[in-house]
Amino acid sequence: MNMAVVVSGALVPAVLLVLAWLMPSLTPPDLPFGVRIPAARRNEPAIVGQLRPYRRWLVGWGAVVPVAGCVLAGFFPDGAGAEVVGTVPAFVVLAVYVTGYTRARRAVLAAKQAGGWYEGLRQGVAADTSLRTSRQPFPWLWALPSVLLTAATAAIGAARYDDMPQRLPMYFGFDGTAVGFADKSVGVAFVPVFGQVALTALITATVWAVLRGRADLDPARPVASAAGHRRYVARMGAALLVLAAALDLSMLLAALRIWDGAGEIPPVLPLAPVAFGLAVLVVAAARTAQDSGPAAADGPDESTVEPDSGLVHADDDRHWRAGIVYVNRQDPALLVRKRFGIGWTVNAGNPRAVLLLLTSVALVVALTVAWRAPEHTTIAATDRDVTFTVDGTLTYGTVHVPAHRAGQRLAAALLLPGSGTTDRDGNQPPAMVVDTLALTANALDADGVMSLRFDKYDSGRTGPGAYRDDPGRIDMAAFTRQAEAAYAVMRDQPESDPRALLIIGHSEGALHALLAAHDVSPAPAGLALLAPQDQRLLDLISRQLGDQLDQLAAAGRVDAATAASNKAGITRAVADFRAERAADTSGLLPPFADLLNGLFSPYNSRFVRTDDATDPLQAARGIPPGTRVEVTCGTADSNVPCDTLPPFTAALRETGTASLVERRLDGVDHLLRPAAAPPQTKVLDPSVLDALHQFDQPWRRRA
């Protein structure tokens, strides 16, 4: 279920409904549902009787909409359309609110007209000049937290600037994932601080305006309502400044994530302080409503009862369209307090107020448009050097990022080479320079899939690393750990899509791919196993050597008896080595003896023993269910012939793969080249490219 849709589909409508339910309690009692009534009519049944149906209407819908919102969230697990659909429940709630409000308002208006409530009453207006001549002082103390938070954010930013990543997440999607990045600069890194300064200034200006706002005094008790107004502006000013501090805190929390280069900001992080600030504002508004209620008149503050002025508040309904929009050309005021709701509204009858409103809307629209990730900007393909440390060894690698749109997330594949000192490109210079992995990266680039390849232990720039002084200590697991560390680096690249991480392993690399798939998080979405090591190492080598002996015998270069005795000798030596006995290779033909002696030497034995102990079938059974897997074999591959594969693919199938594609590639050798290709040629067979394209098909992206 998409968390963002839950928030916008259920949480936001629920909060709106609660506010709507509270609203009659948050508005002055002589303005029920936005209708001006004489104070003496407060308890008319026509008014009191509207409250229950209004709230029942809200509760009825309130039970339906958030549930529907949750269901909706279930239908849109992720991605496209969720943003738009997610806002529908909030609009439905607004419609429900307006309908309930309008019905209640009509009933109150009808009763007011039918009853002639204002007949015979003297309508007045009141003002307290001291509200102008000795103004409520600006609550500077309340402004202090937001100023300090802004200063703290700026200071943290300045202190951490040098350590920030070169690319900072700047644009975020609906669910808080970063969709766009910008190169680090002061202007980019300090965007959260600029936001804080702008917001703090905006809210401070609002408080300033609130302090200067018009006091709508009740002419029946002007002194008490003037005192109430003073308390109202003091309270709302403080609440607004608390909101400013909350927003600044939100931005500080977001800034800390941005400065870490984080790929996402959990929405709860910035939302929690905002929710707190808004709650404070609602409580302040509620206190004000109580303040102007009937209890306030004889409350402790107004111990002196005012003489009856004989006036009631003028019926100003004609200036309020639907009780919501204030239109009064005669009134010079720009902002007036809302009748039904929290805060202020503009005087739509005042050209300057309309201009102010339009300017603010234009500003918001302009900022929103300007702040969209530049989606149509194409970022050129690039190779990025990366380093990471695993078990104390600094490992060097290359991330290839295909051309893509700014903010686009790409599938990413970790490329793992075959056995030996094979470097990130798939070469063992100078003996073997064939670019197996570099060419694989190119093939993926064409499909918009990024890749990471690295120099494993003993190869390329990485070298022996932590094993420099004791090369014989290295084992199979060390290579798997190195691959897993590389996977994490790939996952953390700003462009990589964590839901589309892939591992492509060649030969022994395929075995590491299986082992890593079992451990890494998130699990890879797909595995491509190219000419995978599908048998235990020494079984595979015994078979290879046996095949070679058969070929030599067939060519008449050794006799059948020698071939048979060598095969038996190899089997015996392997059994001895596995049993940790001295392996006797003295009776073997020299090339075979040399090879086995090399494998069993102190330099190699630990690695060979741990590799051999790893059963590829067991590793295949260990991958997470639901993985898309492709397995290839080349008919010209003597190392991993196609006919040894069935047990291996059967083991994969046991895991419940999402799909398992087996490709038998005609005339392809172990290095994925056409069998006829001369040595040292950098080429992948077209059928290999085709297999790669078939594999990455679900994750293709277009720039």
Binding site: Q123, V125, A126, A127, T129, S130, T133, L311, D331, A333
Partner: protein
């Protein structure tokens, strides 16, 4: 000070403002030097046209009670402690008072009741200067 306007009254609004400012000065609520809001501000607060307030302020200025300065705005110019009235004021006021008393007499109000009302009003202003004359002092 509180300005409380009766929108349904026969008395024009500018007159109500002017009267209430005078009453506030008499009651000591406003003293010499007390500031008043600008015409625009007060008009905004009352939701009325600012020319109406201007008219009231203009009259108060004319009467020597208000000082209107472009820089410092409207300021009360004098109060009961500011010394004797401008020459000529007493005569002009006596004329208006005569009309007011004539209304009372013509409508058949009792002389003692009229005097008591005057005393109560002066008491209300709390000037301390109010001296209610005894019956014997009256001719």
């Amino acid at each position: 000070m509180i300005l409380n306007l009766d929108l349904s009254s026969e008395v024009p609004i500018y007159q109500q403002i002017r009267d209430q400012v005078v009453a506030a000065i008499a009651a000591g609520e406003l003293v010499a030097g007390s500031p008043l809001p600008s015409t625009r501000q007060l008009a905004g607060d009352l939701g009325i046209n600012f020319h109406t307030v201007g008219k009231a302020y203009d009259q108060l200025r004319h009467e020597g009670l208000l000082l209107i300065n472009r820089k410092s705005g409207a300021v009360v110019r004098r109060d009961p402690r500011s010394g004797p009235a401008e020459p000529g004021f007493a005569e002009e006021w006596a004329g208006r008072m005569r009309t007011l008393l004539a209304e009372a007499v013509a409508q058949g109000l009792d002389a003692a009741a009229v005097l008591a009302a005057c005393g109560a009003a002066l008491d209300d202003f709390g000037t301390g200067a109010a001296h209610i004359p005894s019956e014997g002092e009256l001719q």
